[in-house]
Symmetry: C2
Subunit: 195 residues, 2 copies
DNA sequence: GTCTATAACCAGATAGAC
DNA sequence: GTCTATCTGGTTATAGAC
């Protein structure tokens, strides 16, 4: 097993600075080039340190990724809004071109999802951040399942949009996509409010 | 640029045999270990040839992947069935544990989707095999968009199920998932037949 | 010419000695 | 903290065998 990296507080000033530099570089490069595209060497170079130090501090590339990349994509506030309109608001949030780096961060996450450690953390995080807050607000049967499926459905759109870059959806009128797909998600969450 | 590999018909017997051996090995290993997990070297070893030959014959690992892995997951016949029940039938198809290798093939595809050549081919193939046959059978507005979104929604489930291996959905009663999610897909395709 | 094999190159992740 | 070494992986150069 990998030796656990020292906790930040035990490090001397130089160590803390190095660690911070690596984290900053990793944040930039992972977002910019994705998980595979950002090499440990490149991150080290960007931070001005030796590649081996990266591993020494964080244990592995995977662990570094988990420490630096925000696995939530910032939709917490969207989910907390009015339940009756959450479907459309979620879709609208991701179709908003004013959110720079969102695409790249999603792609980085999707790539990294194939690594066990990252995948497990993502599942845990999704359950905790997306599904759990929704469940108590739902009514009817299979509340947890429906919340999980709604999140999955949203992920399907993001995949089409950001990974596949499908021309049909990318080229469609955003309002139309929001209406059609948003309502579809909404019906999973609040079936009784069907239009 | 890479020199184009020779067309199969121009090869001499020895070449054709080698090519076939590589293809067979690639099919097995890609399905078994995914795109990243199956190294060119491992494929070559399995085929009993030199790694360099793999590239010589197929140009690149990506190209080999495209030649050997079935990008359709065999849902053609499902889509061709009755339109009014296609949503549930699609979900049921993928929840059927009797289809061995389905999960692994999907994971391999998902991994390889991050490579440009493969991604483009997948988009093209999806449009041609899934979306195109559906569109003329739909009625109402935004038929192409709705078909694309339905496919995306299905992909979301597959991702949750096969990549994330989410315990909520994996542990849920298949019939319930089929009903809830299948109907959600169905409503994108035939909104008028809402239950 | 058309294969095939050997070696080599370059990049990546990580372990271990200092 | 740093550097070097090792291992694995994709790919290319090149020269020999058919």
């Amino acid at each position: 097993m990998t030796k656990t990296s020292p906790a930040p507080d035990q490090l001397r000033p130089a160590g803390r600075a190095t660690r911070a530099a690596i984290e900053a570089a990793a944040r930039v490069l992972f977002a910019d080039r994705g998980f595979e595209g950002a090499s440990v060497r490149a991150i080290a170079a960007e931070a001005g340190v030796d590649p081996a130090l990266v591993i020494r501090h964080f244990g592995s590339k995977e662990a570094l990724f988990l420490r630096t990349v925000d696995t939530s994509l910032g939709i917490g506030s969207v989910i907390e809004g009015p339940l009756e309109t959450v479907g459309r608001r979620l879709v609208a949030y991701f179709l908003d071109p004013a959110l720079p780096g969102l695409r790249k961060r999603f792609v980085a996450l999707a790539q990294a999802a194939h690594h066990d450690q990252v995948r497990e953390e993502m599942v845990r995080h999704t359950a905790e951040t997306y599904v759990a807050p929704l469940v108590p607000r739902l009514t009817g049967e299979h509340r947890e399942l429906r919340a999980a499926l709604a999140v999955a459905q949203l992920a399907g759109l993001l995949n089409l949009l950001f990974v596949q870059e499908d021309p049909i959806v990318s080229g469609a009128d955003p309002e139309t996509v929001i209406a059609i797909y948003g309502d579809a998600i909404q019906r999973l969450l609040t079936p009784e409010s069907a239009a």
